[in-house]
């Protein structure tokens, strides 16, 4: 059973909110039961973004998903940024707050990508310190998302699932399981996504992400998957997802489509696919 304090989102499909879908979502949300926004797009002082978010929040549970906190960064967390997130969570009171096992800033520069971490005791201690700080400042439990990765670190000493599990154990945070990231990383790092998911602590999963990826080739000409959030969810990822929710029970499930964003009916159809898989396990 899911620990209910993990998340206030309903165990239904959600979508990553894009402003071009504002009217369509309100007119006919279809199977969509909640929305996710990237925190950094709603940290302005006012204007249309905040007005739309206030309006949507009256109708849908909202998940705030941070992409810029740099929880894995070597430097200290940016206190001003954390305070802005606190302010957003304060007025919006979102059903969930989540961030990534990654880093994105260095020496004051924001690199706007989710960069990988070596899984070592030193990284573990640093990430846990940062998550403790986030949860203390926000006054809420957060979810941490597993990354998609393209490269490995020679110094990595821990398995990613063990690493995430240990972070959750030490900090009390929940986990956001991105099934597409598992498929992408598994392909890229040459491990079996199914085994990864079999070992994953599903009781800690407060939200699931599904998205599309691109295909490329690595230095040796092997298949290299790029997490693009710019396409439909592929069949092998749907199959992995179906197995996860058969085992774990229904979970809030997000369709992530951030680039080359399609018209609303295409996104709603992806959400409907998730709904069809969620229904029998409810």
């Amino acid at each position: 059973m899911l620990d209910q304090t993990l998340n206030g989102l309903p165990a239904k499909p959600g979508v990553g909110y894009k402003p071009q879908h504002f009217a369509a979502i309100l007119a006919d949300p279809g199977p969509v039961g909640w929305l996710e926004v990237h925190a950094e797009n709603y940290l302005g002082a006012g204007g249309r973004p905040l007005a739309q978010l206030r309006h949507l929040a009256e109708r849908f549970p909202i998940s705030v998903h941070g992409v810029g906190l740099s929880i894995g960064g070597e430097g200290a967390l940016d206190r001003d940024h954390l305070d802005r997130l606190k302010q957003l969570c304060g007025w919006l009171n979102p059903a969930s707050f989540s961030e990534h096992l990654a880093w994105s800033t260095h020496d004051g520069a924001f690199l706007n990508d989710l960069l990988p971490l070596p899984y070592t005791p030193a990284t573990l201690a640093r990430v846990c310190d940062h998550i403790d700080q986030v949860q203390e400042v926000l006054g809420r439990r957060m979810l941490l998302e597993n990354p998609s990765t393209y490269i490995a670190f020679a110094e990595t000493a821990m398995d990613e699932v063990d690493f995430l599990g240990e972070i959750a154990r030490r900090t009390g945070c929940g986990l956001l399981l991105d099934v597409n990231n598992v498929y992408v990383s598994g392909t890229n790092q040459n491990y079996d996504p199914q085994s990864y998911l079999d070992a994953f602590p599903l009781h800690l999963v407060g939200e699931i992400h599904l998205g599309g990826h691109d295909e490329d080739l690595d230095d040796q000409g092997r298949r290299l998957l790029i997490d693009s959030h710019g396409a439909e969810v592929v069949d092998p990822v749907w199959a992995l997802y179906a197995r996860v929710i058969r085992k774990a029970g229904p979970r809030p499930t997000l369709i992530e489509w951030d680039n080359d964003v399609p018209d609303w009916p295409v996104l709603a159809a992806e959400a409907a696919c998730a709904a069809r898989l969620l229904e029998p396990v409810a």
Binding site: N41, L43, G44, P49, L69, W103, A109, F110, N112
Partner: protein
């Protein structure tokens, strides 16, 4: 492996691959690392394209993309709020030799930055019409007007408003005149207005908290006060007044 080396290699295409990064067999994998380089470059390029659509239209997409890459490597964002990325872009354009012949380009970039600031500025409620009528009936020289947080003023020696209008509203071909821009956001969409001569001094005075009388003096003779006030009122930009 330090993140310093990783970050430097991300922003510098000539930098060596940071040590200790490997593929599943433990071999060095520069092509895999380049995925991160590409992600950083393409996501920040997209942010600049979204933020400076007029500059992009003026120089063309391929040129803009190449220029954005040079800019973002030298000036990565300092804030996580990418919607305001590019405050150093106008100065960069002013010193970038390949666009030296496009003297107006830095000011067009400044206009687009100011429009974005306006878009994200705090909301405000305009002064009710009746309140205006009451105040304007009295001696107005001593009034101080409080303007909306979304108001922006840009002085330029170039026809920046006309250039913007040509690209966004099918406006006529710009004439070679200096144009000062007043950006107003009546609801959610900022719009640049061309100010008459002296108008920028007047608005600047009001923004600095000077009285209408003092601001008018600054603007010099011949200033059409009614026109400027009309613009501010229709743009829902006057949010308070004190005597």
């Amino acid at each position: 492996m330090s993140q310093t080396l990783f970050a430097q290699a991300l922003l510098n295409p000539d930098a060596a691959l940071p040590p200790g990064l490997v593929d599943p067999e433990g071999l060095p994998a520069p092509k895999r690392f380049s995925v991160y380089r590409n992600n950083v470059a393409s996501s920040l390029t997209r942010a600049l394209e979204a933020g400076f659509p007029t500059v992009r239209a003026l120089v063309g997409d391929p040129f803009f993309a190449a220029m954005a890459l040079i800019f973002l490597r030298a000036h990565p964002p300092r804030s996580r709020m990418l919607m305001l990325y590019g405050d150093e872009f106008p100065a960069f354009l002013a010193g970038f030799p390949p666009v030296a012949h496009l003297g107006y380009l830095p000011d067009v970039a400044r206009l687009e930055l100011a429009m974005r600031e306006s878009y994200h500025a705090a909301d405000s409620t305009p002064l009710p019409e009746a309140e205006f009528q009451r105040l304007l009936g009295a001696e107005i020289a001593g009034l101080r007007l409080r303007l909306a947080p979304a108001v922006r003023l840009l002085r330029s020696n170039w026809p920046v408003v006309s250039i913007w209008a040509t690209h966004h509203e099918d406006g006529p071909k710009p004439r070679p005149v200096a144009e000062d821009a007043l950006i107003l956001r009546p609801d959610f969409d900022p719009h640049p207005h061309r100010l008459p001569t002296g108008g920028a001094d007047l608005v600047d005075g009001l923004l600095s908290g000077r009285t209408l009388g003092e601001s008018l003096d600054k603007a010099g003779p011949g200033m059409d006060l009614a026109a400027i006030l009309g613009l501010l009122i229709s743009g829902r930009a006057i949010i308070g007044v004190s005597e």
